[in-house]
């Protein structure tokens, strides 16, 4: 078994569901080659978002990519969404197998 572990960055974005499509489009445009999303609920500065009706749902988006791409996307999100939308994002270091995918 020849496994080449390569370091990549995992960018996790948690934001209101209403902007999921836009965040995904932005990420794609800025260099992401894939992403994964699932529904979530939560609370933070913008109060409780319990997902009980469409406007109060959150979404969790994971984007695995090169560090530079992750930085670009995170910067873009900070600039365009942080002020007006419920959103957090954070980065972590992970090892991947098929690094050419990301």
């Amino acid at each position: 078994m020849s496994m080449l572990h390569t370091r990549r960055t995992l960018l996790t974005v948690i934001c209101e569901a209403s902007i999921e499509a836009r965040v995904l489009a932005d990420a794609r445009r800025l260099g992401a080659h894939g992403s994964t999303a699932s529904d979530a609920r939560g609370w933070g500065q913008h109060g409780e978002r319990d997902g009980g009706w469409p406007m109060s749902g959150n979404v969790r988006i994971d984007i695995l990519c090169e560090a530079a791409v992750a930085d670009t996307i995170a910067g873009h999100l900070q600039e365009h969404y942080f002020r007006s939308y419920a959103m957090i994002c954070y980065l972590s270091e992970v090892s991947v197998l098929r690094s050419e995918k990301f």
Partner: protein, 313 residues
């Protein structure tokens, strides 16, 4: 004043929410019920439309949409000047009140059936057409002066938005298939309507309860606005309908449409097109105050108004 049992479900939901019950209507049930209600309302309207000469509708449609467009234009300066809301917030709230609430419309229909009052079946055409001009106006109000843009997004957001697709789609299917063609579907789309509306209202009560906290942020002015605006718009609707020669039931329904504030299409569209507007304000007002107010006090009042106007004019 007569009494509409489905409202009790809303009150039950409200109470459960306030009591912090663990009762939660799954989001998927909410979505499924709203798909059902929108389709069913569209189908019902389409079947009625098929009985109608379309050309006879042109004038009423133009008048109803034209007068309806006044609502956000009147609301905006009130909110901005009197209420001291920011331009974006004033525009967003104005768009909510200019648009319409499908569920309030449905409850009004149930109320009228309950009191045995007939109404024009094509009212649902107004429902569809009133949903979006206010949203366009809202975006225009928010952007005036600033560099425009966003209009296109809103147009697509609204026209390809699920509530228009389902309402309009249902309307067209009902119109194409007619009452006979749809008969095998009646057991679902007509017979189940009121019971499923009751369950939806239970959920709306829970949602409204969760929005009560927003009211504190909204402040006294906005709460007052959320009661006064529907009364004013309702009177405008009853008047317009009566002048157009609609029946008492039709006038009560148009009053309800004008008086109702959107909480499905408008919040979604405003969140995208006017992000700097605080959704807690518009949703707190429309869902926390105006929606319950219309259910309990508004609808019977508009019906009463429609009766008064009919006698006089």
């Amino acid at each position: 004043m007569p009494f509409e049992p489905v409202i009790l479900f809303f009150l039950l939901g409200l109470l459960a929410g306030v009591m912090r019950s663990d009762l939660k209507i799954p989001a998927v049930l909410y979505e499924s019920l709203s798909i059902f209600l929108l389709l069913a309302i569209g189908l019902k309207g389409g079947v009625e439309l098929a009985r109608q000469s379309l050309s006879a509708l042109v004038l009423p449609v133009l008048v109803v949409v034209g007068v309806g467009a006044l609502i956000p234009l009147i609301a905006f300066p009130v909110l901005q000047r009197l209420g001291r809301l920011s331009r974006a917030d004033a525009a967003s709230v104005a768009a909510h009140y200019g648009s319409v609430s499908v569920v309030t419309f449905a409850v009004a229909g149930a109320y009228l059936s309950g009191v045995g009052q007939a109404f024009e079946g094509y009212m649902v055409v107004f429902l569809v057409l009133l949903e979006f001009p206010a949203l366009m106006i809202g975006v225009w109000l928010a952007r005036r002066g600033a560099n425009a843009g966003g209009q296109g997004k809103v147009l697509h957001e609204v026209f390809a938005g699920k509530s228009i697709v389902l309402l309009l789609g249902g309307l067209v299917i009902g119109w194409l298939a007619g009452a006979d063609g749809l008969k095998p579907l009646d057991r679902v789309f007509f017979d189940l309507f009121k019971g499923l509306l009751a369950i939806f209202l239970l959920e709306m009560g829970l949602v409204a309860a969760s929005r009560l906290g927003d009211l504190r942020r909204a402040g006294a002015f906005l709460i007052g606005f959320a009661v006064a605006m529907p009364l004013f718009a309702g009177a405008l609707g009853a008047l317009t309908a009566t002048l157009l020669g609609l029946s008492v039931g039709g006038a009560a329904l148009l009053a309800t449409l004008y008086a109702s504030a959107s909480y499905i299409a408008a919040p979604a569209a405003m969140r995208i097109a006017v992000p700097e507007a605080n959704p807690a304000l518009s949703i707190g007002a429309s869902l926390g105050v105006t929606f319950p107010f219309n259910l309990v006090v508004g609808i019977p009042t508009y019906y009463w108004l429609a009766n008064q106007f009919q006698g006089v004019i």
